[in-house]
Amino acid sequence: MNPRHIGADLKVTARGYLRNPVALFFSLIFPIILISLFGLIFSSVGSTSTTLEVLNEDHNSPLSQQFLAELNNTTLVKVAVVTDPSVTPSNFAAWLGQNDDPVGLVIPDGFNASYAQGRPVNLTLFTNPTDAASSGAAQGVVTGVANGFNLARAGGAEVIQVPPPLTVGSQVLTYIDFLIPGLIGFSILTSPMFSMVDISSSYRKDGIFRELSLTPLTRAEWLTSRILWYVLLTFVTSGIMIGAGIYLFNAHVTLTLGILPYLVVGPLLFVSLGMLAGSVAKTPESAALIGNIITFPMMFLSGTFFQVSAFPPALQTFARFLPLYYVIDGMNQVMLFSNAGRATTDLAVVFVTAVVFFVLAIRFFKWRDE
């Protein structure tokens, strides 16, 4: 491989890219939009509490006040007592729906008295199936607090205690922290994959590969130049995403040199895979189809937007066959958990896969059809 050839091609590629407003938008502006969008959507997850509308029919009895205070103390729900006199237990469900409130609780009349006399009394909880997170949180909190009151009523002692939860990893993490490695992985995947699939078929159709085949530039040099370009691009977009995440959402990520190998090997993998997909396709249309078939499952099932551990077991197994999973998991280990051992394993998997795809891409990528 001739470094001068690679440098010349890299220069031409960079000029073409930097003069393309659409490409620039997707490289420089889109990452900010992406991180802002997902940051805003998910910034509330795990950080703010669910509002629990409470219809207190026991008319501010000491026990009901104490019960509501305990609910508030959990910090997982924020109690809002309904003061509208027209709201009754019979129309409470409709009222919640009209006010877009996902969860509500009715404390019945005689709650205090029943408790004092040891008679069973029902707390009625309203939940919304379309908001599983709020509903689950409310149900867990109300049940937990009620159990505590029952235990106290029976004179029992709380032997097993659950203090406020700690977050996995070495620091307190929020959803945005997980999003940053995920979205960097998303960018490492989509930018080279879509671009290379398109280039490999359109350059062949337009005869540009034929032109290049008549010069001393080799296929390996051309592919290496593209890889280097996407490595540079990945550095820029990753920097933008990390900066935006920290600046806009106060994300907590460990900035270490351990990230860099992923920003190099990741583009190597997906430029090669994109080239391979485009090379085996006969037409630009089939190339786009193959590219989408490869890209979309990886985009959503590799831990980009959602943690793989939240998937059903079968999908978790499937995810482990996707190369992007190891890129994102590796970056999670480096940026969030400081787990060098697993990060190294992930990097090794990505590197070996990248080398295999690079060799295959060179093998199947032809300047022209014979």
Binding site: R4, H5, G7, A8, D9, K11, V12, R15, G16, R19, N20, D206, G207, I208, R210, E211, S213, L214, T215, P216, L217, R368, E370
Partner: protein, 310 residues
């Protein structure tokens, strides 16, 4: 004169189809050679074999004394190719494109000088996607010359260009010849081949049906010089009877084929003596296009069986 290209018994098959079926020709170094043929005749396949882009099935091919397929990399450093409908990177300027090729070929050509040569200097800093069709072809030509090639393969370089742009390309081809470079020109414009080429080969159905200098092909395969006069149909049999020359009538014109230079005076005299009305007297000679159309037509009718070297 040494041969820049030597082809003997070249065959290229795609399955049962023989796109090129045993052709021979030689291109002398420093000449302009035009390869002609209707669509699907085997021109592009032959040209791509010569350029080292396609593997031949059988036969011998030497280009600059190299085998184009096995010595492709070495050959590509010494030839320049401009394909039909040249395409390049959209956002790159003419100067940058030449600098790119200059680095790849390790040459030291000046972009300005090269673009001046193809009359594109005023567009040196214009991006490819802003150039007109003719300007794009000129840029392709400039890129094909970046490595100062010994042979230039020009595949229909003037197709779709306006007359002015075509003439500019012709001027470049003439300049290349003056510099001693060999030009292998594929074209649909027979007039272009007749004007520019020292040697021509006409290929059809994978076989060469005529080859030689354009004037030689016209002399051998064309009809003789004719006198054409506008007049009544009755004039044709009168002249045929009086002169004993091949005389035809078509579309209001009588044409008499001349066998020697004295026939012209005899024809004029016979027309005058016939007493029939006439006007618009002219002499006419076959062009390469006439010969091409006739030869291809004859072969399609099965009249011409194989190559007729001249």
């Amino acid at each position: 004169m040494t041969a820049a290209i030597e082809v003997q018994g070249l065959v290229k098959r795609y399955g049962p189809l023989a796109a090129v079926n045993g052709i021979d020709f030689t291109v002398p170094a420093g000449s302009v050679f035009s390869f002609l043929g209707p669509n699907g005749a085997g021109k592009t396949t032959t040209t791509e074999i010569l350029e080292g882009l396609r593997r031949r099935t059988a036969g011998s091919v030497r280009v600059l004394d190299l085998d184009p397929w096995t010595d492709g990399a070495a050959l590509h450093r010494r030839i320049g190719v401009i394909p039909q409908d040249f395409r390049f990177f959209e956002k790159i300027t003419a100067r940058e494109a030449i600098e790119y090729y200059r680095t790849l070929f390790h040459t030291h050509v000046d972009p300005g000088e090269l673009l001046a040569k193809v009359e594109l200097l005023d567009k040196i800093d214009a991006r490819y996607d802003t150039l007109s069709g003719g300007q794009k072809q000129k840029l392709g030509l400039a890129l094909a010359l970046t490595n100062e090639p010994e042979i230039c393969f020009l595949d229909e370089p003037t197709t779709g260009l306006d007359p002015h742009a075509r003439r500019a390309i012709w001027a470049v081809i003439r300049a290349l010849k003056r510099e001693g470079r060999t030009v292998f020109l594929t074209t649909h414009y027979l007039e272009e081949a007749e004007l520019l080429a020292d040697h021509v080969a006409i290929i059809h159905h994978g076989k060469i049906i005529a080859s030689g200098a354009p004037s030689e092909i016209i002399r051998v395969h064309g009809q003789r010089e004719r006198i054409s006069v506008e007049g009544p149909a009755a004039l044709a049999p009168v002249l045929r009877e009086q002169l004993g020359l091949n005389t035809t009538y078509e579309d209001g014109r009588v044409e008499v084929e001349l066998t020697d230079q004295h026939d012209a005076l005899r024809v004029l005299s016979a027309i005058e003596q016939s007493g029939l009305p006439w006007q618009s007297f002219m002499t006419r000679q076959d062009t390469l296009e006439d010969v091409f159309v006739r030869l291809v037509g004859q072969m399609d009718e099965g009249a011409l069986k194989s190559e007729t070297p001249t």
